[in-house]
C-alpha cells in the first residue's frame, strides 16, 4: 500500500544537463571525511622515500629567498627600506608559494585524477578542496620558518613593526587559497579537453610572479614604470602580497580599495570556477 505513496518521489535523478549553477554543499558536507582523508594522504605521501622528507618544505623557500636577495636586492638594488631584504623576500615568497601550490595542484584535477573519477562518483570538488587544505598545512610549516627568521632578525635589531592588522592575516591567506582554487578549477576544466592550457599555466605562473609584487614593493613599480604600473595595480595578488608585508613587517601600504577589489575578483573567480568545474565534471571522462 505504501508503494503508491512513494511512487512519485525519486531520491535523485541523473540527467544530461546540469542546472546552470549547482554546488551541492550538503553532499560536499557528507563527504567531509573523504576530504580529510585526501589531505592525510597528500601529507603522508608527498615526501615518502626522500632522505630530507618534510625539510624540503623549508629548503625551497629559503633558497629562493636567498637567490632573490642576491639578484634583486644586491645586484639590481631594489630598496626594501628598513626591513632586511631576505625577510622581505621570504614573506612574499611564502605567501606566493601557497598561491602557486593551490593553482598548480588544482589545475590538473581532472587530468591527474581521471583514474579515480572514471570509476567512482563523489563530489569532484572534494579533490581541489583537499589540495587547497593540504597546501595550507605546507604553508603553515613554511610560515613557521618565516617566524623563526622574524624572531632572529628582531633580536638582531632590525626595525620590524608588527601591525595589529596581523589579526586579519589568516583571512588574507584564505582569500589567497580561494583565488588559487577558483583559478585552478577554471583551468582544470579547460585542460581536460585542450592540454594547451597546462603549458600555459606553468609558464603563466612564473610570469605572474613578476607582476605580483613578490620581490619589490608596489610603490616601486609605480614610481619606476609609471606607464606599466597599472598592470600590477590590477593584479589582485599584488594587493595580497603587499598587505601581507604591511601586516607582518610594517612596510608598504594597505589600500582598502585594492583589498575590496581583490575580494570581489576572488569571489567572481571562485563562482566562475565552480560553474565551469561543475559543467565539466559531468562528462569530462569522455574527453579526458
Amino acid at each position: 500500500m505504501n508503494n503508491t505513496n512513494t511512487s512519485n518521489e525519486w531520491l535523485f535523478e541523473i540527467t544530461p544537463k546540469n542546472k546552470f549553477f549547482s554546488l551541492n554543499l550538503k553532499e560536499v558536507w557528507q563527504y567531509r571525511d573523504l576530504l580529510f582523508l585526501f589531505v592525510k594522504r597528500d601529507v603522508i605521501t608527498v615526501y615518502k622515500q626522500t632522505v630530507l622528507g618534510p625539510l624540503w618544505y623549508l629548503i625551497q623557500p629559503l633558497f629562493t629567498s636567498v637567490t632573490f636577495t642576491i639578484i634583486f636586492n644586491n645586484v639590481a638594488g631594489i630598496n626594501t627600506g628598513t626591513v632586511p631584504p631576505f625577510l622581505f623576500n621570504l614573506a612574499g615568497i611564502t605567501v606566493w608559494n601557497y598561491f602557486t601550490a593551490c593553482l598548480n595542484g588544482t589545475s590538473d584535477t581532472f587530468k591527474s585524477n581521471a583514474g579515480i573519477f572514471g570509476k567512482v562518483y563523489f563530489p569532484r570538488i572534494i579533490t581541489p578542496l583537499s589540495v587547497v587544505v593540504s597546501n595550507l598545512i605546507k604553508f603553515g610549516i613554511q610560515f613557521l620558518i618565516f617566524i623563526a627568521f622574524y624572531i632572529f632578525y628582531y633580536f638582531n635589531g632590525a626595525a620590524l613593526h608588527l601591525n595589529f592588522l596581523v589579526l586579519f592575516f589568516p583571512l588574507l591567506i584564505v582569500i589567497m587559497g580561494i583565488l588559487g582554487l577558483g583559478l585552478g578549477m577554471l583551468i582544470s576544466a579547460m585542460v581536460t579537453k585542450y592540454r594547451d592550457f597546462s603549458y600555459l599555466v606553468s609558464f603563466g605562473i612564473s610570469l605572474l610572479m613578476y607582476l605580483s609584487a613578490v620581490m619589490y614593493p608596489m610603490e616601486l613599480i609605480k614610481e619606476k614604470l609609471p606607464k606599466y604600473g597599472w598592470i600590477v595595480a590590477y593584479n589582485p595578488l599584488a594587493y595580497i602580497i603587499e598587505t601581507t608585508r604591511y601586516m607582518l613587517l610594517g612596510v608598504g601600504e594597505v589600500s582598502v580599495l585594492g583589498l575590496l577589489y581583490t575580494l570581489t575578483v576572488t569571489i567572481a573567480v571562485l563562482l566562475i570556477g565552480i560553474l565551469v568545474f561543475n559543467r565539466t565534471e559531468k562528462s569530462f571522462i569522455d574527453t579526458v
Binding site: T4, P16, D33, R41, F117, K119
Partner: protein
C-alpha cells in the same frame, strides 16, 4: 500488487566522438556553442552510427547506447550481459554517475554505490588500514561507518597480519582481497558491480560470490551486475538485460536472457548448407550440409550436441563413412571420431549423426573438421574447421565456485567418499 520500482532508466542514450581531439573538435565545439546560444538543438545529436566496433562507420560520432529503458524492482538482481563493446560499461558508468547520459534520465529511490573496479584510489605508500579508510570514503562511507566495520573488513580480507604494512608490499591477490572486503561492507540500497569477481584465488572467489548472494538475497538489496561469467550471472541474477550494439535486445527472465545472448554469437558458424552444384565432394558423393544441433539452439557444455552431416551418394555399393575432428581455439587437437560402422550404401541422400554427450567438452571455442571417406578409404572431401561453436556453461555442476575451470575437456567423472577408519 503494485511493483516497487527502485530504479528507472528512461530513454538513455550516450554519444561518443571517435578519433582524436584536435582542431576538428574545436570547430565542432564552437559550432555546438553557437547553436546553443541561439537556443537551437545540438547539431551533432542528429548524426551518429550504431555502435558496432567491427565495421567502419561513416560518421565521427557513435551511439554507445541508444534508447535504453528498463526498470528495476527493489531486491532484484539484474544481470547485464552483452559482447565486448555492446555498451555495458557505458551503462554502468552512467548509472554510477561517472559520466552523464547524452539524452534521457535515470531516476532512483535509493543511494547507488558502484564497484566498477576494486581498490579505486588505493595508495601504495599507505598502510592497509589507512587504505581501508581512504577507499571506504571514496566509495561513500563515512569515517564512523568504516570504524564500526573495520574489524569485520579486516577479518573478511584475511590480511590481519599485514594490515599496518604499506600496500605496495602486498601481493596483487592481497590487494584485491582487501579492496573487495571494503566494498563488501558498503551498504547502499543499490549496488552496481562490474566484473570484480574475475580476480583473486578460488577460495576468495567463493567467498566473494557468497557475500554477493548474502547482499542480494539475505539483505534484500538491489544489485546490478555486469559480467562475462555466465555461470556466476545465472547463479546470482533474477533478471537479465541483453545489450547488443548499444540497444536492449532482451529484457526479462535471466535464463531466457542467457539463451538470447548465446544464440547471437554470429562469429561462429554452426549450420552450413550447399546447393548441390556448389557442394564439396566429387562424382561419387558430395556433402550438402553440416550442422551442429542442440536443445534450444543454445550451446552449453551441460547439453548434448549433435553433429549432423548430410550427403548425397551417387554410386551403388559405396562404403561411405564420415569422420569429425575437433580443435580448440589454440589449435589443440581435442579429439577425432570416425564412424566405425562401415556399411555399404546405395544411391540417395543420407544423414550421419554424431552425438557428443553432455559434459564432455569444456567451456570455450571449438572448430570442427569434417571428412567424408569412400571406398578403399578414399577421401572424398575434407572440410577443415568448417563449423565452429562457442560453448558456454550453465554452471549446473559448480557448487559455489565460479572461477576458472581448466582443461581441454571437462567430463563429469564419478567420485566416491569411503570412510577408511574412525
Amino acid at each position: 500488487m503494485e511493483k516497487d520500482i527502485i530504479l528507472k532508466a528512461e530513454n538513455i542514450s550516450k554519444q561518443y566522438r571517435l578519433g582524436q581531439v584536435g582542431t576538428g573538435t574545436l570547430s565542432h565545439d564552437l559550432n555546438r556553442w553557437w547553436h546553443q546560444i541561439r537556443g537551437k538543438e545540438n547539431p551533432y545529436l542528429k548524426i551518429g552510427d550504431v555502435n558496432d566496433r567491427s565495421t567502419k562507420g561513416t560518421s565521427d560520432y557513435v551511439w554507445a547506447l541508444q534508447d535504453i529503458n528498463f526498470e528495476v524492482e527493489r531486491g532484484e538482481v539484474l544481470g547485464i550481459i552483452g559482447k565486448n563493446g555492446a555498451g555495458k560499461s557505458t551503462l554502468l558508468k552512467i548509472l554510477s554517475k561517472v559520466t552523464a547520459p547524452t539524452t534521457g534520465s535515470i531516476k532512483s529511490r535509493g543511494r547507488i554505490a558502484s564497484l566498477l573496479e576494486v581498490g579505486t584510489g588505493f595508495n601504495g605508500e599507505m598502510t592497509g588500514r589507512e587504505n581501508v579508510f581512504l577507499n571506504g570514503a571514496i566509495l561513500g562511507m563515512t569515517k564512523k561507518e568504516i570504524t564500526s566495520k573495520l574489524d569485520e573488513i579486516i577479518a573478511f580480507s584475511g590480511c590481519e597480519r599485514y594490515i599496518d604494512t604499506p600496500v605496495k608490499r602486498y601481493s596483487s591477490g592481497m590487494t584485491v582481497r582487501l579492496a573487495f572486503a571494503v566494498a563488501a561492507f558498503l551498504e547502499p540500497e543499490i549496488l552496481v558491480i562490474d566484473e570484480v569477481l574475475a580476480v583473486g584465488d578460488a577460495e576468495f572467489q567463493k567467498k566473494a560470490i557468497g557475500k554477493m548472494q548474502d547482499i542480494s538475497r539475505g539483505e534484500g538489496r538491489t544489485v546490478l551486475f555486469v559480467s562475462h561469467n555466465m555461470a556466476a550471472i545465472k547463479q546470482l541474477c533474477t533478471k537479465g538485460i541483453v545489450l547488443e550494439q548499444g540497444m536492449i535486445k532482451y529484457e526479462g527472465n535471466i535464463d531466457e536472457a542467457l539463451n538470447v545472448y548465446n544464440s547471437n554469437s554470429d562469429d561462429f558458424v554452426n549450420d552450413i548448407r550447399w546447393d548441390i552444384k556448389d557442394a564439396p565432394g566429387n562424382l561419387n558423393a558430395k556433402i550438402t550440409a553440416v550442422k551442429l544441433l542442440t536443445e534450444d539452439k543454445v550451446f552449453f557444455i551441460e547439453n548434448q550436441i549433435n553433429v549432423e552431416i548430410e550427403y548425397v551418394n551417387y554410386i551403388d555399393n559405396h562404403t561411405i563413412n564420415c569422420s569429425i575432428s575437433i580443435f580448440d581455439d589454440k589449435d589443440t587437437y581435442v579429439l577425432a571420431s570416425p564412424n566405425l560402422e562401415r556399411i555399404s550404401l546405395g544411391k540417395g541422400k543420407y544423414k550421419s549423426v554424431c552425438v557428443i554427450p553432455k559434459n564432455i567438452l569444456n567451456k570455450g571455442k571449438y572448430f570442427f573438421t569434417v571428412i567424408l571417406v569412400g571406398n578403399n578409404f578414399e577421401i572424398i572431401t575434407q572440410l577443415d574447421k568448417i563449423i565452429s561453436v562457442d560453448l558456454d556453461e550453465q554452471g549446473l555442476y559448480r557448487t559455489g565456485y565460479f572461477g576458472y575451470w581448466g582443461g581441454i575437456i571437462r567430463p563429469y567423472l564419478s567420485w566416491e567418499n569411503i570412510q577408511i577408519s574412525k
